[in-house]
Symmetry: C2
């Protein structure tokens, strides 16, 4: 199963980056991602290797998107975050000679690939831009709702 909190966490960070017009420090991202700066660097390093973000040292340094959000899909991010294969059955000892494994693999190997392909295809259909837009919409709605509550109290 996937219970990767990293993808979710990274998305928080990236949306934060889109909002800011300047480099965002690991310290700031750590706030947005509810973790600490070193973990941020660790995770973002993966995205940097995939060319999704850039990092810069020194004064005014920090993290910025390396590509247009319309050109980054959730699949890209998922992979960069260190995407493990979704389905991977296997005995602990990864025994390639095991006949049971072989039989299962023969029966389901294609399925594993198929499921994974579907998953990535869907992730590939959502851009960071689209997600950001939806997020902003929700944010606006949320604010409005809060204001309404305040007015109702008055």
């Amino acid at each position: 199963m996937i219970r990767d909190s990293r993808l979710s966490s990274v998305l928080h960070g990236l949306l934060h980056m889109i909002g800011a017009g300047e480099p965002v420090t690991s310290e700031q991202l750590a706030q947005a991602m509810a973790t600490n700066p070193v973990v941020v660097r660790r995770v973002m390093a993966g995205l940097r290797e995939q060319g999704l973000v850039r990092s810069e040292k020194g004064h005014g340094g920090g993290w910025t998107l390396a590509r247009d959000p319309t050109d980054i899909s959730l699949a890209d991010i998922y992979r960069a975050v260190g995407a493990p294969t979704i389905v991977a059955m296997g005995h602990r000892s990864e025994n390639p000679g095991c006949l049971v494994e072989q039989a299962v693999n023969d029966a389901l190997g294609d399925t594993f690939r198929e499921v994974e392909a579907l998953f990535l295809k869907r992730l590939g259909g959502v851009t960071l831009e689209a997600l950001a837009k939806d997020f902003k919409r929700r944010l606006a709605k949320h604010k409005q709702s809060l204001e309404d509550q305040i007015h109702a109290v008055k």
Copy 2:
């Protein structure tokens, strides 16, 4: 991701049960599953609850299939083994109010379900019987190959 060694492990046990004409003890299954008896009972308990196997105490006791292998699919087993949902993204704190989570969920919620459905559908298409047959075929082939090697040496 799924890296469930339990499913694989359980299949070893079940194939073993099919072969034996009598109840198989946890001790014996532990051998087949490369683990220990208590773990076997723990895992098999899940299968028993789903009506896939039966257990009996005392002399001559042990584990037996409760249904015909043609009537047990890998999906049944997968579920019984304590199938976690395949894909489940989420922040650690499972924050339902988080707007980022909401946006992601709105964009991918259906996808998660779709992927899971596909996976289970495929698992559902393979019966324990089919797997056992394939396994036996491989076993025979394997034996033959070993004999050939011996003859070649002579």
